[in-house]
Symmetry: C2
């Protein structure tokens, strides 16, 4: 039990950086760039360089000047703890407090820095220990393990496949809204009728034979599995 996992996050800023590194590192071979993190957190690259150095001090990342940062084991644990909090809080806001998809992200972002581990676990209890949030993202366990994600973007699926929506990107509120309106939410089955190389439009059909043509950004925001 290291000093970080006592009860709360380190300074809220630190947590934001760790989460950003974690999220960006997923699709960049484990390393996050200064620029990427800066963009994600809306701070200047200079601030990120600065913080990377401090995170290394704290033993949360491995950092090499000019070549980005990688989470250490402790850093990863910290990040996952934050992610767990975030997703449980989102679930609570959506299911118990009547938030809609638009509003959830920001509120959760702020709350996740204020709640204790005790709060988090009681919330999990209240929610019935869900393992996915309403966007379809897996919720890391209290011990820090996370399901491997074998889903792929809808834009990558080949025509003809029958797939199930596993999650939707939760960054763009307007998009979430659009998808929510059409009930394109996790759990929904779709058949992929056509994938147009030209413009990236994916044409899908739902169980009621309703057809949707989804443009490039949308098709990259919806993730599916074929189980």
């Amino acid at each position: 039990m290291n000093d970080l996992s006592e009860t709360r996050s380190p300074s809220s800023s630190v947590g934001d950086y760790l989460k950003a590194v974690w999220e960006l590192a997923v699709d960049s071979g484990g390393t996050a760039s200064t620029k990427g993190v800066a963009a994600r957190l809306s701070v200047s690259p200079a601030s990120v360089s600065n913080m990377f150095a401090r995170l290394q001090e704290m033993g949360l990342v491995r950092y090499e000047r000019y070549r980005g940062a990688t989470l250490t084991e402790r850093g990863r644990e910290e990040a996952l703890r934050l992610v767990r909090r975030h997703r449980l809080i989102e679930t609570f806001l959506l299911e118990h407090l009547g938030y809609d998809w638009q509003e959830v992200h920001d509120e959760a972002e702020r709350l996740e820095h204020a709640v204790s581990d005790g709060f988090t676990e009681r919330l999990a209890e209240l929610l019935g220990h869900p393992d996915h949030d309403p966007h379809g993202d897996p919720i890391p366990s209290a011990e820090g393990s996370l399901e491997v994600d074998d889903s792929m973007a809808l834009s990558q699926v080949v025509a003809g496949r029958r797939v199930r929506i596993s999650k939707v990107r939760d960054e763009d509120a307007a998009m979430l809204d659009y998808l929510g309106d059409r009930n394109l939410v996790p759990g929904r089955w779709l058949r992929v009728r056509e994938v147009r190389e030209l413009d990236g439009v994916v044409v899908v059909e739902d169980e009621e034979a309703e057809v949707y043509a989804l443009g490039d950004p949308l098709a990259r925001s919806i993730f599916v599995r074929n189980d």
Copy 2:
């Protein structure tokens, strides 16, 4: 609609000071001393002087060197907003998350700085718009009005009176626990049998003729009304 009431508190520290001033000013003719606030927030008197000056800048208090600070109307609104949040959050933690009296205060203290007005009002909705928290303290309305408090400390009551517990001080967790165990909670009726000038002990009897001798600190932590 001034800039403070947008969605969240000003910097969390500012809110703490406003609340402290508000709480201390109640029983000090509207004015809070540097020392008092310092003690309440566990910071040095110097920090308080400093902050008083800044709060005045911001138009939240009226401050005169060497003679303390008084809330302005805006300051009072801010403070009450925080108090409302705090009490609603406490209520939620106790009623929905299974916290016990001990743990509630700190968690609420941190959360109240992170939640938005929107969250607060949805929480109020979820809780059924309570007007008192479980300690018996009145919850300010969303518009900032607060019930006048005509209760008095148990230590002030004259012998023979039949009174009802209206609230218990929520600062000392051990005390709350003690009271909770004996079910000395808001709503409970008591008859005051004796008030010993000497040591401040108050002897009361509950509805089942159970008798309790309450020492000075306890008698000053329990507030009652005679309605």
